[in-house]
Every structure is written in C-alpha cells, then in structure tokens.
C-alpha cells in the first residue's frame, strides 16, 4: 500500500499506474496538519450522498422509483471535494450520474427524492427524473444524460464568467466514457482558445457502462488529453478528498484571477452497477471481483478513520453523524413519496418560456 502521491508528483500523462490499482490507497487519508475543521463537514456531506443514494437504490428495488438511476456510491469524494471550491455565482453542469453533484453543492435532499419519484415538488418539478437535475440556487445549471453533452455547455458558462469579470468559474463533471465523444475534445480546445475559466472534472471510474477503459481507449489516464489540449491538469486519487480539494483549489484559484481552463482527473470507482442498485452486474455483464478491494479504498471510511486517528472526532461522532443523516434521509424520502405528481398541463406549459421571464 503506497502513500498517496502528492498532486505535484505526476506520473506520465497517459498512465494511471497505482491510481488505478484497487489494492492501493486502503489506509486512512493523510490529513493536512492545520486548518482542517472543514473535514468533519465534508465527511457529513459524503455520508449524506451515500445515504441518499442507498435509499434511492432501495426505492428502485421496490419499484417506488421507476426512472433510470445511476448511483455514485463510492465516488462521493469527488463531488464534495470539488464543491468546496465553488462559490456563489459559479455555474456547474453534470451528467447522468449527478445526484452526488446536486447534493454536494447544497441541493435539498427532499427535492431530489421528489424528482426521482417524478413529483411536482422535485428539483426539476417532476419533469426530469434522476438524469435531469437543476438547482439554480446553488449554481447547478443542469445535468443531462446525453454523454458529453454538457462539456461544451460548461465552456459557454465559463465564457460568460469571463465576460462577467467577477471571478466566477464554470465546472463540468463528466466520466471517462465521455472523453470518447468528440464534444469533449472540441470543448477542451475551445476552452483553451477562449481562455474560458472552466474546471473540467473527469471522474475516471475506469468504466463506461460494462466496458473497462482498456477496451475503449489505448491508455487509462484521461489527463493525456488535457496535456494535448494544453490545459493545466492534475490527477488525484478520487477517493481522497484532501487531495481533491487541494488539486481543485490549485486549479480554480488562477481561474478566478483571469486564468483559462483547468483539468482535474479524479480516479475512482463506482460500487454499484452502471444503472440501478445492483453491485454484481453492469447491464447484464458480471462485474469483476475487485469491488471488494475498491471498497477498502472507501472515500468515506478512509476519511473517518483518519479523523478519528487524529483525534478530530471520536467513533461515536461518526456514528452519530451517520444516524442523523439516515434520519434526514428517511424523513425526506417519506415526505417526497407523499408529494403530488405534476399537473397534466406541465407537459405543454414548460416547452416554451414566458416572454420577459428572467432566467438566471
């Protein structure tokens, strides 16, 4: 088990090496020496995502939730870590696996439950489901399931931020599979040319649906594309929130001072199948055994262990947080299940905007 590599100590851009190894990075995180009060909140944030998604998984199993749900269980650190660098006025975009982004940004959990249940009180008023989430209050301008689609959209939001001149940035969350779409490359080049302050966050979980990256690309690290598009990049263990926060900060800070795009590759793993709650298969394909090892690289457990080892928390605190979060989840999901469905009129009433309506 190696020590986590420092973010400046990069491997070659095209090779993940130990970062892709399920048997590395199992120990407690290495915590910063000072100023780490935020970590307990980060732990709570990750626990919240996990608990919400576990509950959604159950609701899919029971049939209460019918829309396709792609769970980010195991990947919580990326969303929470990046969100810690986000300020009011920043603009964020996600994809099909974005419950974590929605929650990490501060999205209300009841509205998420309501949305996956197709209820009028949902984040997208029951018109989007799991794969289409909006939270204007927290800067989440949209998540959509056409792979790669929001990457250029985020570049435009970055351009807008440059026009605004207020130090805002745009963030695009996407997976390793999305980098096979031409839209990704066009967007990277455009961001570089326009010097748009966009943080590209690739959650490289090594899989697109049932296919390992080795079957889809000639190398396993996505950062090589950032290198080619001349975008500053950093690559981290995506299950290490300390490393993520540090990398995101060092990429985002120069952007706020007028810099162009940055690229963060977070290497991680999803614990559930591509879609739905099952652990054992991706669209019918038996998953490999390394899930057990990846579970030992748990972004939550490793942080909790480190905080307890450092004396910042005692085990009972962790247990308490877990309980609190579960109670919140139970209440929010129960409430959402009683919420009404959208009115039939929403179908036609949402297609075009009301003239003069302000949209931002």
């Amino acid at each position: 088990m190696g020590a986590p590599p420092s973010i400046t100590d990069q491997l070659r851009a095209d090779q993940l090496g130990p970062l892709a190894d399920a048997n590395q990075f199992h120990g407690p995180l290495v915590l910063p020496a000072a100023n780490r009060g935020w970590l307990a909140d980060a732990l709570r944030g990750m626990l919240q995502i996990r608990a919400v998604e576990e509950r959604i998984g159950e609701m899919v199993s029971t049939g209460a939730v019918r829309c396709p749900c792609h769970l980010a269980i195991g990947q919580e650190a990326v969303a929470v870590g990046v969100a810690l660098q986000i300020r009011k006025g920043d603009r964020i975009f996600g994809a099909h696996r974005s419950h974590s982004h929605y929650l990490a940004l501060g999205g209300d959990m009841h509205r998420l439950f309501a949305e996956v249940l197709g209820r009028r009180t949902g984040a997208s008023r029951g018109m989007g489901g799991s794969m289409h989430l909006l939270d204007l209050e927290h800067g989440l301008l949209g998540t959509v399931p056409i792979v790669g689609a929001t990457i250029p959209v985020a570049v435009g939001a970055g351009l807008a931020a440059r026009f605004d001149g207020a130090g805002g940035v745009a963030v695009s969350f996407f997976g390793d599979g999305a980098t096979e779409e031409g839209s990704f490359h066009e967007a990277m080049n455009l961001a570089a040319v326009l010097k748009a302050p966009v943080l590209f966050v690739c959650e490289n979980n090594l899989f697109s649906s049932h296919l390992h990256i080795a079957l889809r690309q000639p190398a396993d690290s996505i950062s090589r594309y950032a290198e080619a598009h001349r975008i500053p990049w950093l690559r981290v263990d995506g299950n290490d929130i300390v490393a993520i926060v540090e990398a995101a900060r060092s990429l985002v800070e120069p952007m706020r001072d007028g810099g162009g795009p940055g690229f963060l590759e977070a290497v991680t793993y999803r614990w559930r199948g591509h879609v739905g709650p099952r652990e054992d298969e991706d669209v019918g394909v038996q998953r490999k055994e390394d899930l057990a090892s990846w579970k030992r690289r748990d972004p939550i457990g490793r942080l909790a262990d480190a905080l307890v080892a450092a004396g910042d928390l005692v085990s009972a605190d962790v247990t308490r947080i877990r309980h609190e979060v579960r109670a919140e989840v139970a209440a929010a999901s129960a409430r959402a299940e009683r919420d009404p469905y959208p009115a039939a009129e929403s179908l036609l009433a949402t297609v075009y905007g009301r003239p003069g309506r302000s949209h931002s």
Binding site: R66, C67, P68, G118, R119, G126, M127, G128, G129, M131, H132, V144, P145, I146, V147, G148, G177, A178, E180, E181, G182, S183, S208, S209, H210, L211, L215, R216, Q217, D282, V283, G284, V285, Y341, P342, A344, S346, L347, L348, T350, V351
Partner: protein, 330 residues
Amino acid sequence: MTSYGVAIREAFAYLLERYPNVFAIGQGLWSPWYVGNSMTDLDKQFGAARVIDTPVSELACTGAALGAALSGYRPIVVHPRVDFMLLAVDPIVNQAAKWSAMFGGQVSAPLTVRAIINRGGEQGAQHSQALHSWFAHVPGLRVVMPATPSDARDLLVASVLSPDPVLYIDDRWLYGLEEDLEPVRELALEREGPRLVRSGGDLTLVGASYSTLLCRDAASQLASRGVECDVIDLRVLNPLDTTIVADSVRRTGRLLVVDGDWSCCGLGGEIIASAAEAIDAGGWRSRPARLTLPNAPAPTSAPLERTYYLTVEDVVERALVMTGHFEVHE
C-alpha cells in the same frame, strides 16, 4: 412463435452466418441485454471481431461503418437509442445518403444503420425520441420500420443486402410481439413498401412500427362496434410509396394516420398530404386526421407519460368520431 426481439437476433445470425462480409458495430454489443434480447450472445457465437462493442463515439462508429461499406463489407452499425444517433447525423445524412449521387452513381454505400426507439419508463426527453420523420426526409437514405416479427427479421436482412444506405428503426415496445415465422426470405428492399394488413370499407388507418400495432388493435375493437377499417402498415418510409394509401382512401373516403413522432413536418402530415394530392375532393367522406405526440419533449413522470404516448383507446375514439359514431365534446 418468435418474438420481435428474437426475430431481429435471427436476422443478425442469418446474415453473420451466410455473409462473411457482414459485421455489427455499436455500443452495448458485448452486453447480453443492452439492446434487449435482440442481439444476445451474438458476440460469443460469431466472435467479438465481427460483433464489435465500441467506445462512446457515435459519429466515428457510424463513419467507420460507412468506410467499411465502401470497402466491400456490409456493416450494421447499432445505435441503442435514436437520441444518441443524433450525434451521427453527419455520416448518415451528409455522407452515406449522398455518397452514390455525389460520385455520379459509380459507387454505393451499403451500410445499415440500426436505431432503436426506446422510450417510456420515465427515461425522459433525451431517451425517447423516434424522429423517423427526419430521416424519411432525406433522399438517398432508405428508411425501414418493421411492425411485425417477420418484418423485423426479413427487412433487416433486406436492409443489409440492399446496395444502399438503410436506416432500420425498431421499437422496444414491440419486442414482446410474437408470430410464427416462415424461413427467412431474402427480399429486395427496393421492391418492399406499405402493405394492407386488414381490410374494411369505413376508414383507412395508417401506421408504421408500433403505431401499426395500435392501428391493428384499434381496428379489432372498432370491428366489434361496427366500424370496418383498412389498416396499412407503411414498413418502408423512404422512398415512400403512398399508392396503396390513396387506393384505400378512395375506397373508404376516410383517413386516420397514427404516428409516434411529432406532428409538424412529420410522417402523419406526409401521409395526409400525399392522399390529399391524390384524391379529388369528392372522394372524401370526412376530413383526414392524424394522431401524433403532443408538441412537447417526452416527460418523465409516469402520469405524464400516460398522457404523452398514444394508446389504442386514442385511436378507437378518434375513429369513432370520424365515422360519426361518436360526438366530440369540446
């Protein structure tokens, strides 16, 4: 009895077995059910070299299929959803459809693009489009939409054996439909077209793919209420031959088109327009009508999905109104 989904698989197996220059490429082909049961284990049966799962690159995979088609192969590129195929409009519409004409007819582009309509289940606006009307609009591209297991199989075989680029669109809502199948027939696609699948003198019902099923089921119900329908299954949308539609309407004087695509500039309007152009005013007993999707993207929430998609009841009700059996209450 063979289901529609299995019938598609039979077409693949038939082609891969008999034609060494056939191969399939697309997302999900190494999964047992990414495309329902329509391609299960073909990779195991014929090898992963001829049944190729791919990166998430719709444009390149379609372009590559075109290149292979120009090089003596008969590729079938599979798009698990029509929605994703919109990233590959250039190779389909700008390239494949025009390849023969651009080069003076010296060469053709015999690739088959198979796209799947996969909607409902609260999947939402980007996972539910049909858009066959779009592709039927493009000269040079044959567009095929089978409504039955036997067509699902034989028209796929015909598509692949055609010298032209063909867009073959199947619908997941039909995968369970069963039929006893004859042995495969190698049809010449350019001789296939719309077919009268039921006869009756009161009203002409026209559909394609899943909407043909709606029409057939509606026709059965209507018969029990004394309304006898001609049902026409369009089968081939481009080039579109509307002769039998016009012939039917000349007999019935009434036309109702059912289409699971949007209305404006859609297939429903095309059928009505063609009939209106062909039939004198005196030949109509009522105004023609179409049933299509509402003018909205697909919703997710189940109750809205139920109002969004057409049902047999919608067809029956409209047919009764058109044939004067029913009053419209507005």
